[in-house]
Structures are given as C-alpha cells and as structure tokens.
C-alpha cells in the first residue's frame, strides 16, 4: 500500500515513526530535513500523485489547533480543528484538499503528544465545552491502520470532561471503535451523498450501504452518530435521490442514535476551485451552474436555497429539527 516513506531527520527515532516503519518493511525510506521540501514545492500534480501517494512522517510545529467558525459547528460554541494527517485515502472530486495542497502525499505528524498539550490548554477554560474536529484535513479513520490516531486519542479525550471530539469519516474500517467503549463526548460522523453521486464523485469510498451498516454497528454499541450531508450536490432527480438516501439511513438507524445532522451545499474558495478545475478539466461537477461571490465558488443562491430547503424538509420527516445544522460558506 505504501511504497515510499519520506521521513524528517528529526523524528527518525520517534517511537511512532519506528512503529510505522515496522508496518511497512518493504517501503523505500527517503530522508528529508523538513517535510516542506517534499510536500510544498510547486510543479507537483495532485492528480498524478493520487495514483500512488507516498507517506511523509514529520513533526508539526507552531499552532496545532485552529478555531472553526460557529456556523460549521454542531451545537457547540467553542469549535476547533486539529490535523494529525493532511490528505485522504479517498479521492472525492469535490474535496477542497485537491485545491489546497500542492501534493497528494499523506503527511502524518507523529508528535501526537504536542497536540494533546495544546488541546489541554484550550480546554482549561471551564465554563463551556470545547469541540475538536479531527476530520478536516483528512478522513479521521480511513488510515487508522497506519496512523493509530483514534486508538491514541480516544483514551485521551475520555479523560477530558469538557471536550468533545468528532471523528468524521467515510470509512467502514471502524474496528478501533468497535474495540473501544463508547465515549460520552464523542461523535462518529459519517459523510454521505446519494449512491449515484458517490459513484461519480467519491472514488475509492465504500458504498452507501456499507457505510450505513458500519454506522448501525457503532450505534448499537452506543456511539453517538453524526450525519454529514455535505456537500449537497445538485443533480438530476435531486429530491428523489436524497429522499432515498435518508430513507435508507433512518429505516436502519433509530433517530435517538443520531447526535446531529449537518447540511452544506458544495462551495469552494475561488483559488482552490481553479486548481481543481485545472487538475480535472473533464469533470462535469466543475461545469455545474456555479457562480463566484465574495471569493467563493458556489451554486447560485436560488439553487443553494432549493437544495438546503429540500433536504431540510426531507430530514424533518425523520429527525428532530433541533438536530439539524446548516453550514454556511
């Protein structure tokens, strides 16, 4: 799976680096002084690297947790994200990572303990719980067998009484969760588009049915489940397709197992969109009826309203409206 590992000189002896190297004994290991030498140079093709991403092992320095606008939250007011990993196992054509990063290599930061220290500092303010979103720059679980991220961080979050963690994923590799007692303040959030859209846009992602089955297992075990209907993709038969998706989900899972549902239409910073369009000029999604407004490429206002309104109405049949959150650009 991983054929080449680039490794920063400074973390060669880090126990987590050594564990990962042991998992890939046949991989070629190439040293680098700093991950930016490999990850950042211009003139790389994200599209081509997606054919065979390498793994970069590095140490993250500077600010390790970052605030998220309140409109992206699911009920909390103190929202942060942190990224132990940049880039994703999957290849979703709407994903902003394609436009944000010059490289598709998996960039993993092995200094988990430094992230923990910063999370602890952020949760010292006692009055309000803090939310930590771990699936912003990657899928939280898809590369668990490589990173051991959830295995490490779930016990850490279990000890914090005023911090929530969201694991956001499209993966069905949920063994780490099945082997762990559910946390009171953790949400396992699965992202969905209807199967017809997933087939066209979410390359390498498990089927919708497989993800629903994985969700059910976790819900039955007691994990709080999040649904992330984001991005909404305008398509022929939009209402029927999303109705069928929601029916499939909610006839499988009980409403009480659902912590939250978030809705957000496809939108993208202009610069990211232009890069994505350059990588994939043949992609029909990028030829959709989109407009540029305030530096963001998104569906026209009426279309966006229609998509959100339609889904909100469809969801209300299945789930309490106070669990539904809409994400704004």
């Amino acid at each position: 799976m991983i054929e080449v590992i680039y490794m920063e000189d400074g973390i060669r002896d880090h126990p987590r680096s050594q564990q990962i190297l042991a998992r890939f004994p046949r991989a070629t290991v190439l040293p680098c002084k700093h991950y930016k030498e490999v990850f950042n140079p211009a003139g790389q093709s994200f599209r081509l690297q997606k054919k065979k991403p390498a793994l970069i092992l590095a140490q993250q320095t500077g600010k390790l947790i970052h605030p998220i606008p309140p409109s992206y939250g699911v009920g909390g007011t103190r929202n942060f994200y942190f990224s132990h990993l940049l880039n994703c196992l999957y290849d979703c054509r709407y994903c902003f990572l394609q436009g944000m990063y010059p490289s598709a290599h998996y960039l993993m930061f092995v200094n988990f303990e430094d992230f923990e220290e910063e999370i602890l500092r952020a949760t010292k303010t006692p009055e309000e719980p803090s939310w930590f979103f771990s699936g912003y720059d990657c899928d939280s679980l898809a590369l668990e067998s490589v990173t051991g991220f959830a295995d490490h961080f779930l016990p850490f979050f279990k000890k914090l009484d005023n911090a929530w963690i969201e694991l956001r994923t499209k993966s069905v590799a949920t063994r780490v969760l099945r082997d762990t007692e559910p946390l009171d303040r953790a949400v396992v959030a699965f992202s969905f588009t209807p199967q017809e859209i997933s087939t066209q846009l979410e390359h390498g992602v498990p089927s919708v049915d497989a993800r629903i089955r994985a969700m059910l297992q976790l819900a039955e075990q007691g994990w709080k489940i999040g649904l992330r209907i984001d991005p909404l993709i305008d398509c022929t038969g939009f209402k029927d397709r999303y109705a069928k998706l929601f029916e499939n989900i909610f006839t499988t899972l009980s409403e009480h197992t659902i912590h939250s549902v978030s809705l957000g239409a496809f939108r993208m910073p202009h610069g990211f969109f232009k890069k994505m369009e350059k990588h994939y000029p043949e992609e029909p999604l990028f030829a959709s009826d989109l407009e540029s407004k305030g530096g963001i490429i998104a569906y026209r206002e009426n279309t966006e309203k229609r998509l959100k309104h339609t889904c909100f109405e469809l969801l209300e049949k299945w789930v309490s409206p106070d669990k539904i959150f809409t994400c704004e650009a």
Binding site: P41, G43, K51, I233, P281
Partner: protein, 267 residues
Amino acid sequence: MNFVIAFPGEAQPIIEFYELQKVSSQPFAYYQKDNHKLVISAMGREQTSQAVNFLKTKNVSPNQAWMNLGIAGHGSLETGQTFLAGKIEDDLSENCFYPPQIYDHDFPVTCLKTCSQPSSSYEPALGYDMEAHAFYAAVVGASTRELTQVIKVVSDNPSSPLSQFSPKDVPGLIEPNLKGIALFVEQMEKISLEMQQEPEVSNTYEKVLGMHHFSSTRSHQLHDLVRQANALELSLGEIESIAQSAKDGAQVISDIKHWMEPNRQLR
C-alpha cells in the same frame, strides 16, 4: 519522451532501441523519431542545463515526460543494477529534489548526489552522478515533477571502484536494462498523454476562434465553455453551429451559455 543523456556511450543503446535519427549536431547532438527526442549533453551541470533548455525549444509542449538516463556510482548496489532517484542532492547546494514515485517498476529507489567532480568515495545507499540535479532544476516548470525522472545504471561501487571502470563498458551496462527502462518510459508517456488537453476541445476552440474576433477575456471564456461542454458530454458540433449563426464574439459567448444552462447538472 525527452531523454537528456551525458555521453554518446550511454545514449547509443537508447538511440538504437527507439530507432532515433540524428537531426542535428550543434549545439548538441540531437536525435528524434516520433515522440521520442534525445539530446547528448556532455558531462556536468552547466552542459546539462543548456541541453535541457535546447530540448525545450524543440516544440516541447507542457507536461511532456523527461528523463535523465546514464551511469552512476553507488555505495551499495551492484554494478549493472538500474536504480531510480528518489531524492536528488547536490554537493554545491542545500536544495534537494524528490521526484514523486508513482510508477510500477522493479528498480530500487535510492538517494542520488550530483557531484562537481567524479567521486571515488562511496556512502551506503547513495548514488553519485554529475548531472541529475542540474537536469531536474532545468526541467522544473516545463513539466510536472511526476513526469521528470532520473534513472541510472550502476557503473562503479566500493568493490568495483571508478578507477577500474572503462567508458567502453557503458553500452554493455545499459543494454541489459533496456526492457525495464522501456516499460518505465511507456508508463511515463501514457501519463503524459493523460495530462494533455483533449484534442476535441482544442479543435473546436480553434475553429470557433477563427470565426469571429474575440477579446482576450472572451477567448478565455470561450475556452472554458468548450471545455465545460465537453465535460458535460454536450455536442461540440453544436457549439460550432451556434458560433456560425452568431454575429460576433460576444453573441457566441452569450448563445453558448444560454444553450448550456439547462444541462449544467450532474447526472
């Protein structure tokens, strides 16, 4: 494929394999057949940079495949072993290159150091040459890094040092590796084709561009619209018909937009 090779002895097996014809001798020996081009640079950084720049002038469109091929010393690989450079260092520069490894092959991938002088000392897992770093630096910008690769065949190592090596042996080192090298070249060329614009898009764009006057902005808009219509699997012939009926460039843009509007939805 654009081959940049230092010595005639290294180039000869490639010239024969791809049946390349000599096109010119000055300023560099230059060979070509179909989409294969080869330039013989001579030894060293400066000559290599100039040879790359020379080859860039030979109508090379963006995102072509580029390869620096030749012999190299190595601290741990056997002589005659082909290897791929995964990291290219330079004894005069802190700057390193990391050619992305996206191809299927059986070659070992190792670090390679470009040296100012022939090197007779060897570190384990490190190759030594005199061109690769300059080659990579010169190609960057003309193609993506994935399409810029360095392949070397080991000519000398600690048990068979440079002092015992004869330039006459060079073709004999390269020839047995040609099959593997050719498979690698084939993959790079396939990927390069994937990166080229679809010819239907450029053909339609050029045709419509010839029908009316388009300002710079409108010609960009036209190109985007043709590309989008192609992505949406709409008939590009219809675009030509629309353009023929329009009175000027502005109307072409407006009519194509109007025609595409109902179809801008994912299926």
